[in-house]
């Protein structure tokens, strides 16, 4: 998933709440 975000510090929160389902998915943030 490629995103343009104003506040990169919110990326983990975005992943936890929407972009990934931590129960079944791992994620890695690349900036």
């Amino acid at each position: 998933v490629e995103l343009e975000v104003e506040d990169p510090s919110r990326l983990p929160e975005m992943c936890e709440q929407l972009l990934a389902n931590p129960l079944i998915e791992d994620y890695e943030i690349q900036t």
Binding site: L18, L23, I24
Partner: protein, 221 residues
Amino acid sequence: MRFGVVQFPGTCDERDAARACSMVGDAELLWHADADLKGVDAVVVPGGFSYGDHLRAGAIARFSPVMGEVERFAAAGGPVLGICNGFQILCEAGLLPGALLPNTSLRFSMRQTVLEVQRTSCAWTRACETGDLLSVPAKHMSGRYYASQPVLDEMTDREQVVLRYASDPQPNGSLDGIAGVCNAAGNVLGLMPHPEHAVDLLNGSADGLRLFESVARVPAA
């Protein structure tokens, strides 16, 4: 009893769900953008491809305005049924434990399944007996139920596994053959097969109707 059937962009089984509900009560559609359940007595979140399954099945739909109301309704003990994509949405929303992974075949699976009833104190299986076999069709790409072992142990202790596949092979590779689970209180049920497509013998089975009858006609013990 008045049923509300939730409709998201991409939902495709709302008419069959409403018809099934109307066979045991009254039914009306609830639009995803309206934070209003219109005073219904039970909610059905039907199958389909809400928001085109973007990101993951159910991931976007759980944030719809109507889902906030569904969560409050469920917390107050209101009966909620999630079918297929509706099950995926309820899991994403945290109303049910676990998640649905892609089928082990990595193919869309469509077949008649046999479900064995595991628990009858759930609001949606009160018209059944433990061990009853229900013939219900399933059609999905991501129906493989998964929960971590600690969660699964907790679910077992609380008798939250309501339906298991009795047909072999099962359609998706679900953990322990799980086809449907409920919340701890027993008022929220999710399942991958489609009971709303099995309410008329002309379609091969009317077994699915028993889930709707459970809520509408059988009082809680």
